[in-house]
Amino acid sequence: MSEVKKIATRDSYGRTLVECGATNPNIVVLDSDLAAATKTGMFQKAYPDRFYDCGIAEANMVSIAAGLAACGKIPFVSSFAMFAAGRAYEQIRNSVGYPGLNVKIGASHAGITVGEDGASHQCNEDIALMRSIPGMVIINPADDVEAVEAVKAAVEYEGPMYLRFGRSAVPVIHDPENYTFEIGKGEVLKEGKDVTIVATGMMVDSSLKAAEKLAAEGIDAEVINIHTIKPLDEELIIQSAKKTGKVITVEEHSIIGGLGAAACEALSENYPTPVYRIGIRDVFGESGSAADLLVKYKLDGQGVYEQVKEWLAK
């Protein structure tokens, strides 16, 4: 078996911005002194005239983007998730969300896999913040293939959008030849009948690995990839819940306000089903390598497997 290719979705972001920028002159990219890390530096190199480094001033960057969008541009603004969704929350809410302007927020270094920088930089709350803004579309791609298509879809889509990218390289789980991306549509990656695992972002890979381990023990898990957290593909989750009767959500994000919360809301209003939320359980993170942190917070394949088993046994 050949080695699985690993690519960080922030790389996919930078690369695809360059690709889209070649044909769409309206794309303008803004960063706040993190262009090398968020990978918008690739765009800067390719199209220096359409790139603005706003310096360490995220609030201003977001509202500048609103002004650009009001004049017909398609601005992508980038920072770490902590400083995009966190620091500039109110600018996103009032300058972008309320007027419904066509601003794309490309947030990298989301979740605990920021790693060594520690809790100040590990944003596990961004999805919760963005979900609360009316009309905001939230996309959290699982791998390179999905991230590339998500960025392309963001260029075509008219309106505010939050794109969440990770720092660490993650396995490429999709085949680019047979992949289609549609905003708001989840995908069943593995069919199963005993339990539904709904995962997003890099947790899709962990969930697939967990499902393999469960299968070895005779537990047939269905694995659903939700790249669009808002608007949520409620129908897909409800249909699966009807089949399995048990739902587990997995995200590299707080269990408060993210995918788990969104799934609970959809299920409890439409088809009440027991749900267990796997994620960061209302704590701040800490310094460590991404791999070590995933183990500690039980978000690697083994950790997800153990949490699923534990819950099913209750």
Binding site: Y52, N60, S63, L68, A70, Q91, S95, P99
Partner: protein, 278 residues
């Protein structure tokens, strides 16, 4: 347009402000009145805008960064013909398009949704940037409160505009010296305002906000200033034109009752009369 003509329009704008805020039973008359002459000059002399084509991509832009003074903006937009004057009486009413703070999606002539202080100037910077990118010659104007400039984002925006040489941007500070909690010096002094903008690489001009000759000259000077943005610090009188509201922080965000409205309208009627005799 002569100064007298502008003064007559500004008097009507002020009348619109007090009537609409009274009808709304809430709103911000003080800072709307202090900026009424600036609103009037901008919309009747300076801005290349067309009420029949409010979304013209080549129009000049105006961002009311101090969005709470929407009654002033709406008051002048109505006079300029963007929407009927009688609609002003629906301000802040349920179902009205005239929201408490400017909404670009529902109000003809409003270029940016504002209200959360400090954000409008950044949006204006973005518009100026778009103009440069597209090599268009439209200009972008934004009006800030002097209390508003306590927001850190204002200085993030100023730093960027100065650094990027946005000479198509004009920042106007309505320096009426009062904010909700008192005088801006007592609360958290932003003075010296002109020196601050100068330090952020702006060309700065200090004027009397109620002198049309001074407004005219400053905006001409701004247009002629190349390579850097311009900040106009306009010393104004909060509540200007309504005797009991003048220089009174209490009228920052309060609507006049029926009796107070009558006094305000009488003040403005007298002023209109004296303008007609000139």
């Amino acid at each position: 347009m002569t100064n007298l003509e502008l003064q007559k329009i500004a008097n009507q704008v002020r009348t619109n402000i007090v009537k609409s805020v009274h009808a709304a039973k809430a709103g911000h008359p003080g800072g709307s009145l202090s900026a009424a002459d600036i609103f009037t000059y901008l919309y009747f002399e300076e801005l290349r805008v067309d009420p029949k084509n409010p979304d013209d991509p080549d129009r000049d832009r105006f961002v009311l960064s101090k969005g709470h003074t929407a009654p002033g903006l709406y008051g002048v937009l109505a006079e300029r013909g963007f929407f009927p004057r009688e609609d002003l009486l629906t301000l802040r009413h349920l179902g009205s398009y005239l929201q408490g703070h400017p909404n670009m999606n529902h109000i003809p002539g409003v270029d940016m949704s504002t209200g959360s202080l400090g954000q409008g100037i950044s949006a204006a910077v973005g518009m100026a940037l778009a103009g440069k990118l597209d090599k268009k010659d439209y200009r972008v104007y934004t009006l800030l409160g002097d209390g508003e400039i306590q927001e850190g984002q204002v200085w993030e925006a100023a730093m960027f505009a100065g650094a990027k040489n946005l000479d198509n941007l004009v920042v106007i500070v309505d320096n009426n010296n009062l904010q909700i909690d008192g005088s801006i010096e007592d609360v958290n002094s932003p003075y010296p305002i002109d020196k601050k903008f100068e330090a952020f690489n702006f060309h700065t001009i200090c004027i009397d906000a109620h002198d049309f000759d001074a407004i005219r000259a400053a905006l001409k000077e701004a247009k002629e200033t190349k390579g850097i943005p311009t900040a106009i610090i306009a010393k104004s009188l909060k509540g200007k034109g309504v005797s009991f509201m003048e220089n009174n922080a209490g009228w920052h965000g309060k609507a006049p009752n029926d009796e107070e409205l009558a006094i305000a309208l009488e003040d403005l009627r007298k002023e209109a009369e004296s303008l007609c005799q000139k």
